[in-house]
Symmetry: C2
Subunit: 216 residues, 2 copies
Amino acid sequence: MLIHSKATEPTGAAHDRVYRALRARIMHGEIHPGQALTLRGIGKEFGVSMTPAREAGRRLVAEGALFLSSSGRVSTPELSNERIEELAALRALLEPELAARALPRAHMALIERLEDINNRVSGMIARQDASGYIRLNLEFHRTLYLRAQAPAMLAMAETIWLQLGPTMSKLYGRLRRTEPPRNHKLILAALKAGDEASLKLAVRSDATQGLRMLKV
Amino acid sequence: MLIHSKATEPTGAAHDRVYRALRARIMHGEIHPGQALTLRGIGKEFGVSMTPAREAGRRLVAEGALFLSSSGRVSTPELSNERIEELAALRALLEPELAARALPRAHMALIERLEDINNRVSGMIARQDASGYIRLNLEFHRTLYLRAQAPAMLAMAETIWLQLGPTMSKLYGRLRRTEPPRNHKLILAALKAGDEASLKLAVRSDATQGLRMLKV
DNA sequence: ATCGCCTGTTTGTGATCACAAACGCTGTAT
DNA sequence: ATACAGCGTTTGTGATCACAAACAGGCGAT
């Protein structure tokens, strides 16, 4: 490269910026299932060449966030029913464990932050903002699980969210929500009571609830 | 590239060959923790340029098989005790579930194949072949879990094996084994009896046993 | 002897290019 | 109208290059 326009983006490596931007889009359901991407297209959008675009794509394919066709083309995955159920089962396996590990460290300040996040969900519902709804929903879970001090486990949970991202947007577009999730209130109640058993149950229910209406 | 030597390797894309070769090495514990790799070195070893080497590296970093330093250098990770315990906890969470799902489909032919794999472990122990031991051990588990018909869950389990690979070689070099793992026999007995509860318990024990002697 | 600097080398990053395969559109034959 | 062949275009792949940051080794000052 001959000309560096350093002033445009202050952050680090180009391939990493592209990766994070795409990852956020996918996880928050801003890209529909089956949507095709091209390396040159990604590069042009972020003002970089094909090389960083390719690396970001590879990384996302490795995480299951993108599907790689036999000819090398990448697209967001269209999940089968079996795959969706499997990913929901993984959530039901991992997230109660994360919640249980976070429970002894969940002080009042954390619970208040969770309640704040949960209240902001209503605004997203009112505005029919599916992406915003997903983002706040995940922020609720991540805020809790961060307290588990289990980075590998949290990374695995995030990988699952990532794989479900595009499909989730279709789901939340389908159902007509009028109220914030009931299970989140149960989670908060269990946290306040320090009740591990009902906490794990509430988290498990929250992780598996949405998928039932995904039956195509 | 001007000259193509097509006759050398009949398999597919170069970056994929490099990826699979490195992945196998790491998973089977053939690379010690903390070992540094260079893109040019990888490229030279496989007769390719830096580009496919970089892509293979990125992919392995995304799976947690390689550690990426702040300066972009890659090396096999040196896991902390907390990280090892966390990965073992993940195995203890995922693998009993996989075994339970495989149980109703585990016919006699499968059990015999598992017994065969298990018997071949003895040869590896006699030859002090740590890598061969790990490979057969994983083959035992993968053969069983394949029957679970849960590809996403299996992929997640393999990712964990991958992260533990380099550390495992250090472990198996440390202990002086004389017999094949006792838990594998328990797993086989539970499979024959169709006893899900004791199967899950045996798998859980097998997943967590090795790590206790890893306390640095 | 130890610390700091300085320089030559190694290494990752990103752009560019040549190439082959896949794609998609158009026109033609049935 | 449909199916198929032909062809220009799009797209991923891998090699190569320029560049900057990181590294390592030695030299000199204190």
